[in-house]
Point group: D2
Chain length 266, copies 4
């Protein structure tokens, strides 16, 4: 028998009823908050109390980062073009790529694989960390979740670790993340801080999330800010945002005359 074309395990809608992961959504609204229901959507179950608190912190800590984020800049250029709000937000979301929030997934995979491998090989997390960093340096590769272009101590990492401690969310993934940070100087000749992506990665790994949903945290976290920036651009800034032609440096070939059509290539 063939698979149905339209199917989902997430929710069911029928007249006057919306079921999400088995629950009537209206029984949850007002009792569980936005972070709880996001957890439900992604995990299939409502969060225990400590996960609830952590979840909310994970979704708010990346709320805004001003215009020094490609997603915000993309949103503002699109918003300046005379489009509806959602188009500008959509373009910003499209920019949550491997270098912009994407390290959450890569670092979560690193930590989850690292903890598995430590357990399997009966290695300490410290030795595992050293081994992993050796692999990265050998490949001349960057370690996802470490270092930041603006912050020398990522305030978001500090805050998340503080709430994690209060919420009793700790364990091997966080330990490994910190062990890696402590050894970066040895392997890369400068201290690379555990940045917010890396910290989110460690905490969602601790909470049992699949690493492949990592970017979802950044997407949800950044969306209200993208809405705010789209709105500000549309109603409080000039239309058609673009640099003046004099500010654009042309690095291409010098001016030349249009040629006659060329012969076939060899």
């Amino acid at each position: 028998m063939s698979e149905p074309f339209w199917k989902t395990a997430i929710s069911r809608v029928e007249p006057n009823k919306i079921i999400v992961r088995g629950y009537n959504l209206m029984d949850l609204v007002g009792k569980y908050n936005y972070a709880d229901l996001t957890y439900l959507l992604w995990r299939g179950e409502l969060p225990p109390a400590n996960h609830s608190r952590m979840m909310d912190a994970l979704l708010t800590v990346c709320l805004e980062h001003s215009l020094n984020a490609p997603s915000v800049d993309a949103t503002r250029f699109v918003a300046s073009s005379g489009v509806p709000l959602q188009s500008a937000v959509s373009a910003g979301i499209a920019a949550i790529g491997e270098w912009h929030g994407g390290a959450i997934e890569q670092a979560a995979k690193l930590f989850q694989d690292g903890v598995s491998s430590a357990t399997q090989n009966k290695l300490s997390l410290k030795d595992t960390a050293a081994q992993l960093l050796q692999e990265y340096t050998d490949r001349h590769d960057k370690v996802p979740g470490y270092g930041h272009p603006t912050h020398t101590r990522d305030p978001r990492t500090q805050k998340l670790l503080e709430i994690a401690e209060q919420s009793k969310i700790s364990g091997k993934h966080v330990e490994l993340a910190l062990a890696l940070e402590a050894m970066t100087e040895k392997f890369f000749h400068r201290h690379l801080i555990l940045n917010v992506d890396g910290c989110i990665a460690a905490l969602i790994s601790e909470m049992g999330f699949d690493w492949r949903i990592g970017k979802g945290f950044f997407i949800v976290s950044r969306t209200p800010g993208l809405v705010a920036h789209a709105f500000e651009q549309m109603y409080y800034d000039k239309p058609y945002k673009a640099p003046h032609w004099k500010e654009i440096v042309y690095t291409g070939v010098a001016e030349r005359n249009a040629p006659e059509r060329k012969e076939n290539a060899a």
Copy 2:
């Protein structure tokens, strides 16, 4: 003096510090939740307690509506094509258009203009409602925020009004919205329910939001669901979602032979 190219009133980032609407974001995380901080981003101020509760309900009540929503379908088709998570979510956001969440803005404008006009013209809200519906019927136009293709009584409207009452959020915009609903049968020969878009529109008007940010509520509300659907499609469904060619009805011209290049048009 010329305007700076990069400017914003929303936030300021400097090394190790992120200021949002004047507050250090790290002083707010863990103390104010996602809905509160979204309110701050959009309004410039933190919400009073009753607005906080209402805000969270407004952002969760549209969380999910299964595959019978074009945004979710767009997300799933894009997700099936071999793209990163954010691309699929981005396409879903792009579908939050005039017929899909957009009625929030249109209805909020209707209610805000209606209340203003009632005050200015010293008309009752009931008379204002009658006058507005007369205008819509004369123009053969739909009233934004009323009627639903699936629900005969929108469960989300009921829930929001219940929480609004508990939170003491009421006033002329909600009154006008309900007055309009009560009279739809008289003007359109069938009862048109106040749907979730219309109800959100009335409540955000009551709370003092600019009607032009209306779609933002739907966008933020729907984003975690779009992430869940993208994830489900990518990892629990088949790639390259598309109907089989036999299911597609061709309604175009019959097959014909390729012509010779035509002469100039007259």
Copy 3:
């Protein structure tokens, strides 16, 4: 009987055969070029010879405009974030809004309505132009398709009119467009040039296109350039394009301390 869910008059695919607007696509490839087949897709018929030449010019004249176009800037910011090529191009397309290519549709509507109204009211095109400009000045509105921030004489307009003349594509829409240009100085106290959007609008109106497909010309024209910019950004520029925090001017409220949760709003 209910409408089929999947239907289209554009094309039909069956095993080993692709029919477009009635023709076997493989009978056309190599014989008709990209501009011809775009014409076929949008109009349902292959172009006569002069429309073919004009169509190609219409699709190439807006090919590139460097970084002083919000679509290109959006593409480059997204491309810098670590995403696949199509994501960056997609964001650029999303920026083809009312202030960026959108004037083609608005101007084509203006010209088509203007010519209709002139015919109906037995007015000369010159008198019609004067009447239309009077309406725009009364409404304090901009006339779509006129004026340009960089060019004082849009070279693309000159080129298109030259090819239109060679191709014998002329008539009332072009006449009206030029009559409007000639009178802008009288109504707006400075000469507003017929820009490329306005010129495309006049020519596609002359060729019989529906004004609502106007942005399609700009979208197709700009796509190869967006691909080129995405590629250049991804492989020949730095990742994570964003202004330095010192370059971003914060215009918001001064720093302040996080407050206690407020009481209910009145």
Copy 4:
């Protein structure tokens, strides 16, 4: 000295002049067609005559594939939501992913690496093909550019190879592509046809294109079709396209009551 923030080698705009890759764009329009100028944008040089003809065929052969393509479906769902034309097209472009056009890049890399390796290792292309297929079968991986869900003989491949022969575009990449096709039966126990993605990949490799611009061909080729589908959906089909709730199969957990807030997780 620091790099300029806004720079490009593609084009330069100044008042009344648009330079593309060194040429005044207005000297090229009307003389070189859309395919030629796309070639110029991507390669930096105008095409020789045979490349010109091939380029046009490469950009037209994938023009349309009806609704059995996720990009077209995404476009139609978004177009049905009440959005401007470009938003729907943008969503379709976002769906040009690894399983939908993306094989062009992967196959072009395969052929370019394969030819290099054959030369370096002094292996015949046939032996190289056998070696490559062995690697794919060992990894239980699909070979990009081979096989098709609808076509048993991809008509687009036939057409492209025919034009390539007429245009004298042939060589080791095409040879390797055909050698691989010929051996698929031996390695995969069924004949896998060289599909249009694989054929484009072989030909652009022959013409000297960087494999990383492969998806650009599919994007440009599909854009006019996405415009046509967006237009048809917006003006000739019903708004708010979505399956009826009865058609959606819910595969999730059974209905259950909303629980009390859970205790902390262990």
